[in-house]
């Protein structure tokens, strides 16, 4: 789930980078913008870039983009074996950042983490945006990303031919950049630790989703081949009440393929008064 390719119509504002000490371990957080707090939780293959969709959202929100413990430039945390462990770790990070009740925007693995945080402590999430979110099982076959190399994965992730070609080309050269390749391998290892078996879901999550109090927007790429759009309907059914937006001409990472449309949807949803 590398996001090295994206449609980039905006020149991103340089985010400020902080290393936050969370109970003795460092978490890298990129931050930009002003307004209500929005925490962006990245996907399994995300290599730490500040995407154009974040710059768009930073016009209206204070956007925090942490690297999960064990990913990118955050330290390992040996106490993290599961997404539930990560959710506990995020509550600590929110305390460190002074975030009482941010909105959570989670992509893929990050969507699963966002839902887990909101279930664990329903008072800590104002609103939830789940984008191509992992975390649930549906009776719909998916490719096993753990059997795929970077180029095969890039091919599956993107829908738009221009972005797909760029992503596949970048993935083919990832071994040329030792620092980037190490980051890729480390993320891959951390993802395996969280999601090898059961594969990218928690069988107990559906039975706990009733605890979730925040309004939820489910966003999906219409042409997602990694987690087909049927999983979006699975989320909506499991949540009982959620808004669903399917973005056309986008695969597993709609925020990278259609950043304007994505940012507009998120901005509108988060700006609504009261429950959506």
């Amino acid at each position: 789930m590398t996001t090295s390719a994206s449609a980039a119509p905006v020149s991103p504002a340089e985010p400020a980078e902080h290393m936050i000490d969370v109970r003795g371990r460092r978490v890298r957080v990129a931050q930009a913008g002003e307004g209500a707090p929005l925490v962006y939780l990245h996907g399994a293959g995300d290599l730490g870039d500040w995407g154009p969709e974040l710059s768009l959202l930073a016009r209206d929100f204070t956007v925090y983009r942490p690297d999960h413990p064990g990913f990118n430039q955050s330290d390992d945390d040996p106490s993290v074996d599961s997404v539930l462990d990560l959710a506990f770790s995020y509550l600590d990070l929110f305390d460190c950042l002074g975030l009482d009740r941010p909105s959570l925007v989670g992509v893929s693995l990050g969507g699963w983490i966002a839902a887990q945080i909101a279930v664990l402590d329903p008072g800590r999430a104002a609103k939830l945006v789940l984008v191509g979110a992992a975390g649930l099982r549906a009776d719909i076959p998916t490719p096993d990303m753990f059997t795929l190399g970077p180029e095969q994965l890039a091919e599956l992730l993107f829908h738009r031919p221009d972005l797909r070609a760029a992503a596949v080309a970048a993935a083919g050269q990832i071994t040329d950049d030792p620092e980037l390749f190490q980051r890729y391998l480390r993320n891959r290892m951390a993802s395996a630790h969280l999601a090898w078996n059961p594969y990218f879901h928690d069988p107990k999550l559906p039975g706990r989703l009733h605890r979730l109090a925040a309004p939820v927007l489910v966003v999906w790429g219409a042409q997602d081949r990694l987690l087909p759009v049927g999983y979006a309907h699975q989320w909506v059914a499991a949540l009982g009440a959620a808004r669903l937006e399917i973005i056309d001409e986008a695969g597993h990472l709609p925020m990278a393929e259609q950043p304007e449309a994505f940012a507009t949807l998120v901005r509108e949803f988060l700006s609504l008064e009261g429950p959506a």
């Binding site: 753990f146 059997t147 391998l185 395996a192």
Partner: protein, 390 residues
């Protein structure tokens, strides 16, 4: 020289569409292609070939563990060893039980202890992590492989050596009662071997525990480097490695002439290395199976074992296999031994599609014309009588 005969029990009789494809031979190759009646014949033949090592005067024979693949039909190496115990009188090396794949390592302690007692103390207990593909097979998080391996090993050795019952409270295994019956016959426990392709962590671990380190499937340059690392590691732990602690496992074929040896062996090696060992790199080395630094080195290479695209003649020249007339094999063996200093040899005399008649011919030539000449190599220096105290 301790001479062992190794068998992988392959199932090479696959449709040409598969053999000539680039599809994986591991994890996902349908077992509908396995014909149980043919399997019965193969097992009968292969067990006979393992017994033939014993009849030929080898010190021992070796079985191993692999899963969901025609590369080898031995998912349960302790079962293979159990079949061989009553038919042989030599040592039986299980190379090895793949510890992290077990949810209950005490079963390994029990099975190996049973085999050791039944066989009268002829068991060598190899411990391995299992290859990457097997983490897909068993749904075990490969990022936990190494710590599960270490902890399972520690638990098994404790189960063999500490009077029970005792409690085991580890990270991965928590047992209120550890108290296996039987205990092994060999004391304090059966010899432990560590087969590996040369990861630095495994080399260091084997040296620290004074185990026998066995190098598998490597070019001679790698074998040399790894054996040197092993000797350096034993020095670091305060002792010199004995030749019996250093083993080399290699496909071996002897024929009357070099030309004939190549003509017979190369196609069979091609089946082994390019058809049966073939799998995607991300299945061979899944996420977290290797530490990121090692993974970077392995995954950056475009070729290599498992790619289905290796030149087997080149492999032979680089020492991945020991092929030739009795003269050639004797000379190569002596030169390798002198250079590398190993005292344990595990010859894989059946590999890939190699047929039974060729196996028998090669084994006889080896036993009669090679073995006598290499027996005296790699033997630890005699301790002068004057230093022996009684």
């Amino acid at each position: 020289m301790k001479i062992f005969g190794f068998h992988l029990m392959p199932y090479p009789d696959l449709p040409a569409e598969h053999l000539n494809s680039t599809d994986s031979s591991w994890v996902t190759l349908s077992n509908a292609l396995f014909d149980p009646r043919h399997g019965h014949q193969l097992y009968s033949r292969y067990i006979g070939e393992l017994v033939a090592y014993d009849r030929a005067g080898f010190d021992g024979l070796c079985v191993n563990e692999h899963h969901q693949t025609p590369y080898g039909l031995m998912p349960a190496p302790d079962v293979a060893a159990a079949v061989l115990v009553p038919q042989t009188s030599c040592q039986i090396a299980i190379l090895g039980n793949a510890l992290p794949l077990r949810d209950h390592p005490l079963r390994v302690a029990e099975e190996v202890a049973m085999l050791d007692v039944i066989s009268g103390g002829r068991i060598i207990s190899g411990f391995v992590r299992g290859i990457g593909a097997e983490y897909h097979t068993f749904g075990i998080d490969p990022a936990t492989s190494r710590e599960r391996f270490y902890e399972a090993h520690d638990l098994i050795v404790a189960a063999w050596t500490r009077p029970g019952p005792f409690e085991w409270y580890g990270k991965h295994y928590k047992f209120r009662y550890v108290n296996p019956w039987p205990r092994p016959l060999q004391q304090p426990h059966p010899p432990i071997w560590s087969p590996s392709q040369g990861s630095g962590e495994t080399v260091d671990w084997a040296a620290r525990n004074r185990y026998t380190y066995l190098q598998t499937y490597s070019d001679i340059g790698t074998v040399r480097r790894v054996f040197n690392e092993f000797r350096a590691a034993t020095q670091k732990y305060g002792y010199p490695a004995s030749p019996e602690q250093i083993g080399w496992a290699v496909p071996t074929f002897v024929a009357d002439t070099d030309e004939r040896a190549e003509a017979v062996a190369l196609p069979a090696l091609d089946t082994l290395f390019n058809r049966l060992m073939r799998m995607p790199k991300d299945v061979f080395f899944p996420a977290g199976y290797l530490a990121p630094a090692s993974a970077a080195r392995v995954l950056a290479g475009k070729q290599g074992l498992g790619s289905g695209n290796v030149d087997v003649r080149d492999l032979v020249e680089r020492g991945y296999a020991l092929i030739g007339s009795p003269d050639t094999v004797r000379q190569k063996f002596a030169a390798y031994q002198q250079e590398l200093g190993f005292g344990v040899f595990c010859g894989i005399f059946q590999f890939g599609s190699l047929g039974h008649d060729h196996f028998t011919e090669s084994l006889e030539l080896f036993a009669q014309q090679v073995m006598p000449a290499i027996r005296g190599l790699g033997v630890p220096p005699e301790v002068p009588a004057s230093t022996v105290t009684t």
